[in-house]
Symmetry: C2
Subunit: 257 residues, 2 copies
Amino acid sequence: MPLSPDEPALAAVVPAVGRPVSVQDAIRRDIIAGVLTPGARVTETSLAQRYDVSRVPVREALRGLESEGFIDSRPHVGSRVAPIPVHDADDLFAVREALEVSTARSAARRAAALYSGDESPEDWWRIRREIAALLDAGDAHVAADDLDPLVAINDQIHIGIAELSGSATMTRLLRQLSWKIEWLYAADVQPRGKRLWPEHRVIVGAIDAGDGERAAALMAAHVRESRIGYLLRYGVTTPSSDPVVAAAVEERRPADG
Amino acid sequence: MPLSPDEPALAAVVPAVGRPVSVQDAIRRDIIAGVLTPGARVTETSLAQRYDVSRVPVREALRGLESEGFIDSRPHVGSRVAPIPVHDADDLFAVREALEVSTARSAARRAAALYSGDESPEDWWRIRREIAALLDAGDAHVAADDLDPLVAINDQIHIGIAELSGSATMTRLLRQLSWKIEWLYAADVQPRGKRLWPEHRVIVGAIDAGDGERAAALMAAHVRESRIGYLLRYGVTTPSSDPVVAAAVEERRPADG
DNA sequence: AGAGGAGTGATTGTATGCAATCGTCCCTGT
DNA sequence: ACAGGGACGATTGCATACAATCACTCCTCT
């Protein structure tokens, strides 16, 4: 697996978190962190005071958050933090499966085309190197039993795979969803991703090998396993929309916590 | 296929076009209609004058359009109408395939659950009736050889199927994409959807029958065929990211126009 | 002649103030 | 006591005005 054909090692692990936080980022962060609880009523004025800005940037931020699904807004009435998305969890996982299976397959195909010289994507190697760094960082956190950062790293890896697939649209959609995913996991203090973590390296391996179908199958299993684990942990009563997932949940429920 | 278990016939064919157009809708409409051509430079001030509003609503609209992919904006420099998305077409179709295969499968499963009495979704019948109306309307347009409205009707049907699937997330994402799809097709005055049109009724039939895998397979073939047709018509030179599609395009290219 | 830097113009980003709209409460009439 | 209507308060929607930032040009120095 030759990772760096031209440039030197390069650190660049920090996954774009250091931006000069916009109001939208600040509010989203507070929602994900639980400072602004779901169902809480928020007015433009109160938020403006809270973040010490005018109402105008708050307005823009609310519009953006609304389209991301974090805010429910009604004209002339007010806005609320969207109800906790646990109900949407199964839905969200279904979308992830649909999208990410496709990105994994495409990424592997592009890798194959790359090796055969048919294509030379401009920044394929840069992204691939970032993923490698993220995998290493995740391994370190797992080894240190410091699992909290794994949520963000996990998202970054999945977005990175989407970037490798070369589909700007999928990347954009997945980025939207990733925030909600983080929100879902944020409620879970100790993510059980430790068991699933090693799967990432296997998936990336299949991509490197250029085996599209294997990458797709591995990704499908990965997302599905994550979905089952989530539904089990939260004891969601309504069955999953995917019969296979629903059956697995039902089967494992008594054995689990 | 019993369509109306409780309510009477109901017209409601008009697919939500009559809203009091916001600035964002107005700009998007002009982009899709070609009034604002891709690459054109647009400033907040010029748009404000154009639509006779202040810069504030224009700002919000631009933010929204940016997240929809219609506008490329650089801070302190200006905004441009995003370059013509023909290059993204293949990408867009790939996403559609990933999402819509999933929605078709889920919709069929819900139909099966509905018939067996396991579930009673609140507005399943309403949506199903709207789809029926859309199918009829499309048939009428095809019969009259008036193919222009088919683009919008087509989008509405696909969104309706997503709604039947019960996945709010998929519906939201698909709705975002549908605008871009319309943009793509708008360049094509005479959409060649006439040949593909009857497939919709077959897909809906599979959903009604509760046959998830068949619905999924039909939808996959439908989107793929549409994709091939598009790439052929526009003579896109770069091969599709899907090898099957790329091969089909290559095979049919000489025979076609 | 070329490179560097300051000035200028254009554009975005933000704040404040006012108008429009909607929900709610109280008051009145029956 | 209850229903209906009007007024008030709260909140959003919008316009104007100003500040900050960036790109570009021209001027100067080497």
